[in-house]
Symmetry: C3
Subunit: 282 residues, 3 copies
């Protein structure tokens, strides 16, 4: 099903975030995810908790058809294999043809040669949004500027070696070159379409001790893409996961309970809490 591009929405206030969440719960978008083995379960649960309908379909034989039916597509490069890469490329191409909005999470790109090639190939299918940590965005920008796969300086593995603001220029260039809204996650998240830069201050330091909460942010951006334009979707996805993380941290004794409480918090998030606590600096 071809999805009409939602009209531009103001992204910059807590009320805007609350409106996106209401739309998301009314529409219950079908979110097609091809993600990594570490977070398959928690990604599906985060999407269900916020009110979306996740479907994990990764086989190349099925992914293209499914991406055309879905309301949004999430592609995450973690634990990539040659087989999974085939499914990603089929799904991204199909999303581009069908008008299904999609978001890319370039996990560990730059640190590993093979997935850098796949990332560059996927960019040709024009994601509406890209989210990564500073090292990943720096690496992806360099790769896309080079126009061809090459090795770039990058983080050690999946953790960022850079603070978010160090990647702001790269994020702007990447946004302008690809047409995607680019999000750099960090203590403060930076979201840019190449012109505007919006900052999201929600989150909690203990979130870095739970695996895959960056992937959860990407999945929530994906869900929001079904009901909001890419700039609003990216800002509001960051708000949802960051605020849920803050609320969870108030009750958690460590990263085990933080993960559990975060799912509960996504499920319980309401207008009043968003209006009182969303930290968006436009």
């Amino acid at each position: 099903m071809t999805t009409a591009q939602p009209r531009a929405q103001p992204p910059g206030t807590p009320a805007d975030a609350a409106r996106t969440l209401r739309s998301l719960r009314e529409r219950m978008p079908l979110v097609h995810s091809i993600t990594n083995l570490v977070v398959t379960n928690t990604t599906a649960n985060a999407l269900l908790a916020i009110g979306a309908s996740p479907a994990m379909v990764e086989a190349a034989e099925e992914a293209a058809a499914f991406a055309a039916q879905a309301d949004a597509l999430v592609i995450n490069l973690g634990t990539m294999t040659a087989e999974r890469a085939r499914g990603m490329r089929a799904a991204a191409a199909s999303a581009q043809r069908s008008g299904t909005p999609w978001v890319m999470d370039p996990v560990a790109v730059g640190a590993l040669g093979h997935r850098s090639e796949v990332a560059v190939a996927l960019l040709a299918h024009r994601p509406q949004a890209i989210r990564g940590n500073a090292s990943e965005i720096l690496a992806l920008e360099a790769l896309s500027a080079a126009g061809a796969p090459r090795r770039v300086r990058a983080g050690r593995g999946v953790d960022s070696a850079h603070a978010a603001h160090a990647a702001l220029d790269a994020a702007r260039h990447l946004a302008l070159r690809t047409g995607a809204v680019v999000t750099v996650s960090g203590a403060v998240d930076l979201v840019t379409d190449g012109a505007r830069v919006i900052r999201v201050g929600n989150g909690h330091p203990m979130m870095t001790r739970v695996t895959g909460l960056g992937c959860t942010a990407t999945a929530l951006i994906g869900a929001c893409l079904a009901v909001a334009d890419p700039l609003a979707a990216s800002v509001h996805g960051c708000v949802l996961v960051g605020l849920a993380g803050e609320l969870a941290a108030e009750r958690a004794r460590g990263p085990g309970s933080l993960q559990m409480e975060l799912l509960d918090a996504l499920y319980r998030l309401d207008d009043a809490t968003l209006l009182a606590r969303a930290l968006i600096e436009d």
Copy 2:
């Protein structure tokens, strides 16, 4: 090891369910699971919590030999790949030869062409039980009636587009055609061998906001197949997960804590609770 078919057991009272649970905990059956990437961890944990011994073996090189040794086999079509489909077919064929009882969960069948072919091929190996939501059972019945893979109307992704009772006739036909006991999960679960229809009323609406609890039901049916006949195993598997979900919902603040509490509840389930709260309508 060839498992002697357990003799027919009355399925229809709370006392029958309690007897199945006691047998399961005494025997600790080895349950071979080939399941999807979303629920591998939670399926194994649910089987351990109830008292079974799970083993996830999916490589075609190993799955056939293992299915012959196991006390029961669970095959779940979610996140299927060509590679995993090879393992499923090898395991199902081996289970049929060895007399290992097995249950099939046709996740998203009908919605996706490739897995519909695999589902029809697997039916030839005569599962003792099949469990799905209404859309999946409607689709599988149409596929099996057609005798050949074809596209049928189906749910959007993994969620049912139909209420359970809409699939009752399809479930009866599917049971008669395949010889399997067929379960349609829903607010009330329907279990039929083609003649009798037994209803299970346990469960809680918040369970639909946790990924893979249908897969957990299938896994528990699989464990029960090692100690009870297919009709009793299917009814009691639904009772176990539904009642654990109810108990969990009494303590949960959202879907994150519901998943955790459900595993605790499976572990703590006892005769008295089953006798007091199992909702079986024969």
Copy 3:
């Protein structure tokens, strides 16, 4: 990056375990894991909770390069496929060349023909540590003694059919033959370099009802290999997971909450608790 072999450290007192934990949190080692589908998420979370930096990289195209950069490598044979076996062999060969210390977890070896072949091939790349249950260590010792893949008596699936002490001689022989420190998990864990035998008494019976806590022990041994010699790393990895399990069991109502509490406990473990409660018998 070639890691200089850490100098020999005394492994035998609670103070030694506390020193290893402090080193681990200061160094935050990058731990490359190729593990099974059941525990990918919980392994990453356990490594993050204790203070390490996990990275799950399994594609053969990427695994060799990554193992050379990592501070330690964990290879776990559960849910092995031909594809994943290729990644394991590439990673182990690279670790051997680069001096990256690595630990092997021979899940269900002996019970399944294919993974026995892979296990023997991996031993040629000289792991610094091996951890398994009694059945797995008995099977691996027999396989390595035979010098060639063959079928040996083994456990049913992933659970041990033997008590730990029954595998002590096999563990000693395996250590002498391979040069690895060998750990046999059980109610009391046995750790041997072929000469010394150190016993770790921490743990709780309910831990056997949570999937993959043996895999978690292996992952923590891997993390410790980055900061301690193999004997100390193996002993202290067992202490960390066993003590966290004990602390978790004091708060848990069942296996669902035990898994969550164990991650919290790893995160909260401190010197004082280790000094008071580590049970090491040298």
